[in-house]
């Protein structure tokens, strides 16, 4: 299989300046990972494990302190690489006074494409918002906003989807819908890289799960491993964290 994303020993240290003092926080340490085309890879970890940092580095929003990242052989800091990614941050915000098609056309233009109402309607239908196309975003529920978030990530037909906590704060029905949507997007051959706190969600959709602790990969689990474990991914995750803590102590 062809590698579509590659992290080579990436580290990220945040420098916090406060008046005359300076503090360094290592958010990511020596992170190496390869994503193959068409797979769904999940990032699992506690708060502060480095999940969002990884996603932001991949989108070119943060710069690695050391190491490098390649998206189809190109640095994410270049426009050519960014054309191939679609990003959904946690709790995306959209201008409340405009409609979903206006929002999507705006992001289409930012992606270097022309306004395409046919493409916009196609994506809105895919995410189940076509019947709400005339409503303003302010009238949308949280689940609808999340679907609009997915639509903006898909509008320019990227190869890779980067989803940061895509089901965070949603009700069970919305979670079910988003999950099905992610699976249907993956069936079209798109590579999906997502992070979540929800072990059961990752268990249901991922081909591979990367367990992170304090910015380090502690284990990479294949689907068959949690399928063969009677207590599933949750057990593997907790044991991996316990082992890591024991190693440190």
């Amino acid at each position: 299989m062809k590698n579509i994303v590659e992290f080579f020993s990436v580290s990220k240290t945040y420098v916090l300046n406060h008046w005359f003092s300076m503090r360094k926080i290592a958010a990511l340490k020596d992170f190496s990972l390869k994503l193959e085309k068409g797979e769904i890879v999940g990032l699992l970890g506690l708060n502060g494990a480095g999940k969002t940092t990884i996603m932001k580095i991949l989108c070119g929003l943060l710069f690695p302190s050391s190491g490098n990242v390649e998206i189809m052989g190109k640095s994410p800091l270049f426009a050519e690489a960014k054309r191939d990614i679609g990003y959904l941050p946690e709790f995306p915000y959209f201008h409340p006074n405009i409609t979903a098609p206006q929002t999507l056309n705006y992001y289409l233009k930012l992606s270097g494409r022309l306004v395409d109402n046919w493409q916009v309607d196609k994506i809105l239908e895919k995410v189940g918002l076509l019947q709400h196309r005339t409503k303003k975003v302010s009238e949308y529920s949280k689940g609808m906003k999340q679907r609009l978030g997915l639509a903006q990530a898909l509008i320019h037909q990227p190869e890779i989807l980067i989803l940061d906590e895509p089901v965070s704060g949603l009700d069970p029905l919305a979670i079910h819908e988003i999950r099905n949507l992610i699976l249907s997007i993956n069936k079209e051959g798109k590579t999906i890289f997502l992070s979540s706190h929800s072990i059961s969600e990752l268990e249901k959709i991922c081909d591979r799960v990367v367990i992170l602790s304090l910015g380090r990969i502690i284990e990479v689990i294949q689907k068959k491993q949690w399928e063969h474990n009677p207590k599933g991914l949750e057990r593997i995750f907790i044991e991996a964290l316990k082992n890591e803590n024991q190693k440190k102590s």
Binding site: K56, C59, G60, L61, L62, F63, A79, E80, K82, R83, I85, G86, Y87, P89, E90, F91, P92, Y93, F94, H95, N97, I98, Y106, Y107, K109, L110, S111, G112, Q152, H156, I162
Partner: protein, 254 residues
């Protein structure tokens, strides 16, 4: 082709930003207050008897400048920081958008916002002058253009300061100081002649660091033609602020 794509991106961000600034409730409130203040100047004008036209013009232009300044400084200070807080900026920079394209669109949208506010308030002011039976001199329009120049400079400065700070309060305070200092250029020149030592050095420095807003104060002397060089002066300030902002913004992480 690359330039065309770049222009499309700049136009998209520019129109979206301008729409956002003008669709805020605060914008409607600002326009209403400006209209009210201009209307209030009618009362003062009537009391001035023989100088009614002059008072109406001066007060009206003064209110237009003051209210536009307040809104523009607030918008310039919060424009980018609000996008960072709401994570909207993530959706912009995860796409093939160059940071300079984004900054340029933001600068242009602020100048356009200044033009929109000055235009709306100016139309109302002119209407009021017309209703009172006063003909408007050509210099009036030059005075409005000069207000726009000043507002463009201060919004560029505020936007630059907003990139250096995480709180919008700092750029607002800095802009307020610069705005006041920039209107005191003649006083500063006078004090330089009198001062010695360190205070002379500080005053001299402030003369070069602060923009000279008095260049654009046509309101005080409506008969005076505008300086040819005031346009170049404005452009230099804006270009300098854009270059500095670009330097700061190029390595900014979100």
């Amino acid at each position: 082709m690359k330039i065309k794509k770049s222009l499309d991106v700049i136009v998209a961000i520019f129109t979206r930003s301008l729409f956002e600034y003008c669709s805020r409730k605060l914008f409607a409130i600002l326009i209403l207050i400006t209209v009210f203040l201009i209307y209030f100047s009618l009362l003062v004008g009537i009391m001035a008897v023989d100088y009614e036209k002059r008072v109406l013009m001066d007060l009206g232009l003064g209110f237009i400048e003051l209210m536009s300044f307040a809104y523009l400084v607030y918008i310039s200070a919060t424009s980018i920081s609000e996008e960072i807080q709401s994570k909207t900026i993530y959706l912009v920079f995860s796409r093939p958008v160059a940071r300079l394209e984004y900054l340029l669109a933001k600068f242009l949208s602020l100048f356009a916002l200044a033009a929109v506010i000055v235009f709306y308030s100016g139309v109302f002011h002119l209407l009021l002058l017309h209703l009172r039976g006063f003909l408007c001199p050509a210099e009036y329009f030059v005075a409005l253009a000069m207000i726009w120049c000043k507002l463009s400079i201060i919004s560029a400065i505020t936007l630059f300061f907003s990139l250096l700070s995480t709180s919008p309060l700092t750029p607002i305070i800095a802009s307020l100081i610069i705005w006041m200092g920039g209107h005191m250029t003649p006083e500063i020149k006078f004090l330089i002649e009198k001062a010695e030592g360190f205070s002379a050095f500080v005053l001299n420095l402030s003369r070069y660091v602060l923009p000279n807003f008095q260049l654009y104060n046509l309101r005080d002397t409506l008969q005076m033609p505008p300086h040819d060089y005031s346009l170049y002066y404005m452009l230099s300030w804006i270009l300098a602020m854009f270059a500095l902002s670009g330097f700061v913004f190029r390595k900014k992480e979100f």
